[in-house]
Amino acid sequence: MSTLDWLVLGSTLALIIGYGTWRTRREGQSLDGYLLGQRQAWWGIGLSIMATQASAVTFLSVPGQAYADGMRFIQFYFGLPVAMVLIAVVAVPIYHRLKVYTAYEYLEGRFDRRTRTFTALLFLVQRGLSNGLSLYAPALVLSAILGWNITLTVWLMGGLMIAYTVSGGTRAVTVTQHGQMAVIFAGMLAAGYLLVHYLPAGVGFTEAMQLAGHQGKLNLVDFHFDPKDRYNFWSGMTGGLFLALSYFGTDQSQVQRYLAGRSITESRLGLLMNGLLKIPMQFGILLIGVLLFVFYQFNAPPVSFDQALLNQVRSSRVGATILQDAQENHDALFAAKRAATLDMVTALRSSDPGLVAAAQTHTQAVDAALAGQRAAVWEALKRVTATKEGPATDYIFLTFVLKYLPRGVVGLLIAVVLSAAMGSAAAGLNSLASTSVIDMYQPTRPGRSDAEYVRVSRWAAVGWGVLGIGFATFAARLENLIQAVNILGSLFYGPILGIFVVAFFLKNVGGRAVFWSAVVAQALVLLLFWRTDIAYLWYNIIGCVLVVVGSVLGKADQPAAA
């Protein structure tokens, strides 16, 4: 990173966080001001919802996934717009009219205290443990590529994020998210434009798309149902729909965004804005990955995008020699590949099917030779240095940014990654603090002053922030633990959604039936997880259906409640 990059990065983050903190310096004077702040118009709600969902992983991994495996990942979002409509119709009016601060607060009036506490606890456990990971994941990539100290990076990001969240509450999170979204859009547009600009003369956007299409990267829709794969049309419309219903309808980190709407109308429009823009936004990020793939048809990619792995290989003399020998051989082969790809562009422009087929056969032959050489290099490396090629999708986009993009733009794109990380982690932290004070502290200590509740939620934010980052730093040494936390979320989501579905639609089911159904459903989901190998995607639907069925069966032997 050059001095200019540091300047762009530092001033961008300082401006966003400084402005957000200054604008919201008076929000802690009442509990309402701290938990929801000045109410928002639809566009503010919509941007905040999108910034909460888009974490750093979105911008680091998604282009890499498209580079490696095409655009099929978009299918998991097909259920999201449907979920936005359902939540706008059903949940928004109820939450607004009851003037709740958290989704779980509604459950006490509808069922009982026990159901509310149970649901809030499930949320606190899974969000509290996973929230720090959304800061740790990008810190890991930045430390691998830029050589930053990982502990310092994660605590610096976390410290800034905790500071503005504690200081200005929900409104500070929202105001900074708006700035963060502006940086994110600017950075991604700049990266996309420069990628096309860097393609060889005569290869424009259209030719790039044709090349990508012929290489199977435009695999946007697959109608073959495979229950083990979340990236097909049917999984997206079912599993993706239920996940979006859980996340946007019952997860406080999202619910708090649209509770801050000025009216039902503004909250609804904010959700619908997300429903209209989310798929195009993901398409854009995946498109950057596809353009990256085309770019590397003309510019030789590194032996591995995983810089740390390469350094490890080079640290042994044998490894360094293997890499150097391979490089010379590779350069000659890659020159042939570049020429073959340019021939392919010429053939595509001629629209002569015979020419295209011949060019494609030629390109495939060169690609096969390159892949063979690459496999041989890794085989040799594995033998002498015990390293093996891992999936490096997280590193592809950032490696390109650092090597090819001009000074200043690099700083902007690092700011994109850090902004996305802080924006979604701050929303998570802010919702953990709200749930702690509204669903845990206030019910046991009612009637205290606003000042006390604000103080408690500030300390809760500090506590959850430090716990989340501390846990992520600890869990980083245990790969399985990180996976376990992510799985935990998908195991808890189903029963929580089931409780809310019963609350919204089965008006004659009371607290006792739904509580015990949820406890049994949660136990069954955990049992299924230990005993079967169902894809995580389906636990959400199974848990939800179990609670609904259990509640209907259970209410037969109890008096109806409110």
């Binding site: 717009p81 449907v82 706008a88 435009l218 829709v221 697959d222 619908l272 209209l276 798929i279």
Partner: protein
Amino acid sequence: QPPLLPSWRAWYWLVLGALTAEIGFFVYLTRL
């Protein structure tokens, strides 16, 4: 009474219609 469109139902159909159009466009690109 939502802004811009005559009813909420119209807004919901707009979102679902946009989703259908997006999927249609993606199917076209995939089949191409």
